[in-house]
Symmetry: C2
C-alpha cells in the first residue's frame, strides 16, 4: 500500500502543486528495508534497486522518535498491520509523531479503537492533525463526510458491509464453492491474507464498527461490547441455498444508539432482495447511516483498487498540510 | 420549504451556538406576505398570526436590492421556483445579494445552469460564497462532498436517479396504477406539483444533470445538449410488466466525459435487478460517480423529509459564516 501511496503522490503532482503543496520523502521504515532516513530526501528509485547509502540506514534506531528526528518528519504516514486487541505498534508511532510535531495519518484502525481520545487530545494540544480516512471503506470519504460535509447532523446508527474478504468469500460460496475453496480463491486474488482469521472471525469488521461508533457517534466502545460472529460456521450449501431463496447472507455490521448507549454487532444475517445491501457483492462495501436529518444516507464503494486506500491517505495529507 | 428552514434553524440552535453562530431574520419575501424587512429582526410568530407592522412592509420595493439593504442582509436564502429555461428570477436575486456583500445560498438549480461562472466569479471577487447544496438530491452532500471530502479527484461520469416525482410515479405504476392515477396519487401526497410537466418531461432531472456536469466536471453544458425524454410515453402495463420481468424502468440520468466533452442524457431505461439503481424506489434518489480514483462511489438518500432540503441550506449557512 505504501508503494501505491508513493505512486499516487507522483501521479497527483500537478494537483498538489496547484494547492501549493510540495513534499520530500525523508524517511521510510519497512520490515525488509529497516529504518531509513535522510532529511535531504531519499532516492526512491535507488531504494527500489536495493542501493541504500549507508548513511541513510539507521540500523535499527533506539526508537521511532530517533527515526522521525533524523528524517525531520512533518508528516507521518502510518501503515502497520492491525492488531485488533492492542492497536500497537501504530499507537506508539502516532504518539511519537504528534509529540515531535508531525501530522499523523494512519491506515491502521487499531489506534482509533484503543487510543482515540488520547491521540485526538494530543493532536489538538500540539496543533497537529490525527487523520485516518483510509481505515474504513478504503479511502472512501466517511470520516471527512461527517466532519466536513454534514455539520450539525447527529448519527443515530448505521448498517453496513465493511469487510471485503468475507464478502468475496460469501459471493464465491453463492456461486457453488465450499468455504475452504472460496477462501483459497480469495487468497489467490490477494483479497484474503495468509492468516485470514481476523477477517473470517469478524475482528476486522468489529474494529471498523468500533471506529465508526467512537468517532462518528462520539461514544467510545470496546471490542468486547460488540456482538461478534464470523462466517466460519456457514457452509457453501447453506449460503448458496439462501441466495437462491432470495435471502442472501451478508456479514452485517450494525450500530444503534439507545438510552443505554450504543448497541453494535457484526454477524451473518439474511437480507431480503429489496434491501440494497443484499446486492453489494465481492470487494464492494457500503454503509447506510441513519441520522436526525437523513432517515437513510448511504455511501457505497464498488470494486475499489489498491489506489483507493492510498487515496484516503493522500486526501488526509492534503487536509493536514492545507491548514 | 422556508418554513422548514426556520424550524431547522431553531431546532439546531445549540449546534449553531457551539460554532459561535448567531442569527437574526431581518427580511422575508413571499408571494403571500410581500417584501418584509426590519434590520432589528422580524417577529416570525407575529408574522404567522398575520400581524405585520406597517414599518416592516416595503409594499413592493423598486428592486430586490432595496429589500436587501433595508434588511441589512448578511446572508440570502434564495428559494424561488425553478424556471429551467432562464434560471430567473433566482439569478437576479443571487447577483443582487453578492453585489451588496451578502452570502448567497440557493435551493434553485436554475442559476447554476444559466449563470454559474458569472455568479462564482462575482462571489470570489466580493469575498463571499455562492452555495447550492440543496439543489440536487435535497440536502444530501454532493457538491460539498467533492469540494471538501474528495480533494484532487477527477470525475469521469455519473449515473443516477435524481427526480423523485417520476420515481414515485414509476413505483406506483409497477404496482398496477396507470400513468394518470399514479400522477394523481403523487400529487395527493404532495410529491408532484400541480403542473408536473417539469418533472414528467425530464426537465427537472436534466437541470440537475447540467448542474452536476457544470460544477463537478467543470464543463458548462446547455440543456439542449442533454438528450432528454420523459416518462409520459410509458403505460402502466409496460412499466409493471418490465418490473415483473426483472428489468424495471427508471428515469435514468447519465453523464460521461469523452475526448469530445461530456455526453449526457435523461431518459427511461430498463435496468437489470443486479444494478443497485433498480432498487431505488419512491422518493429515494441515488448517484453513482465514476472517478479516476473510485471506479464507483455512490451516494444514496432514502425517504427524505421536508427537513432534508432545508438542511442543505442550513449546512451551506454554516459553511458560509464559519469562514
Amino acid at each position: 500500500m505504501n508503494r501505491a501511496l508513493v505512486r499516487l503522490l507522483q501521479k497527483k503532482e500537478r494537483e498538489l502543486r496547484e494547492r501549493d503543496i510540495a513534499y520530500r520523502i525523508t524517511g521510510l521504515a519497512t520490515r525488509r528495508l529497516g529504518w531509513l532516513a535522510d532529511a535531504n530526501g531519499l532516492d526512491l528509485s535507488a531504494l527500489g534497486a536495493g542501493n541504500i547509502p549507508a548513511t541513510q540506514n539507521l540500523k535499527g534506531p533506539a526508537n521511532v522518535r530517533e527515526w522521525l528526528r533524523e528524517a525531520r518528519a512533518d508528516v507521518l504516514f502510518e501503515a502497520t498491520s492491525l492488531d485488533p486487541h492492542t492497536g500497537q505498534p501504530a499507537i506508539d508511532h502516532i504518539r511519537a509523531a504528534l509529540e515531535t510535531g508531525a501530522q499523523a495519518i494512519t491506515a491502521n484502525k487499531g489506534p482509533i479503537v484503543h487510543a482515540y481520545e488520547e491521540l485526538r487530545s494530543l493532536a489538538t494540544a500540539k496543533g497537529r492533525r490525527f487523520l485516518f480516512e483510509s481505515t474504513v471503506m478504503d479511502g472512501a470519504p466517511i470520516f471527512s463526510l461527517f466532519r466536513e460535509s454534514l455539520p450539525a447532523v447527529h448519527l443515530r446508527g448505521f448498517r453496513g458491509i465493511l469487510n471485503s474478504t468475507t464478502n468475496v468469500i460469501l459471493s464465491s460460496m453463492e456461486e457453488g464453492l465450499d468455504f475452504e475453496a472460496a477462501l483459497r480463491k480469495a487468497q489467490e486474488v490477494g483479497v484474503a491474507e495468509t492468516d485470514p482469521s481476523h477477517d473470517i472471525d469478524g475482528w476486522d469488521a468489529a474494529v471498523k464498527v468500533a471506529a465508526l461508533v467512537t468517532v462518528l457517534m462520539g461514544v467510545p466502545i470496546r471490542l468486547d461490547e460488540i456482538k461478534r460472529e464470523g462466517i466460519g460456521g456457514l457452509s457453501g450449501e447453506v449460503v448458496s441455498a439462501a441466495r437462491a431463496a432470495g435471502k442472501p447472507y451478508k456479514l452485517l455490521c450494525r450500530a444503534q444508539r439507545s438510552n443505554e448507549g450504543v448497541a453494535a454487532s457484526v454477524r451473518p444475517e439474511q437480507l431480503p432482495l429489496a434491501d440494497p445491501l443484499a446486492w453489494v457483492a465481492g470487494t464492494s462495501s457500503v454503509v447506510y447511516f441513519e441520522t436526525d436529518i437523513f432517515p437513510g444516507l448511504a455511501i457505497t464503494e464498488t470494486n475499489p483498487g489498491v489506489e483507493t486506500t492510498a487515496y484516503g491517505m493522500l486526501a488526509d495529507f492534503i487536509r493536514a498540510v492545507s491548514e
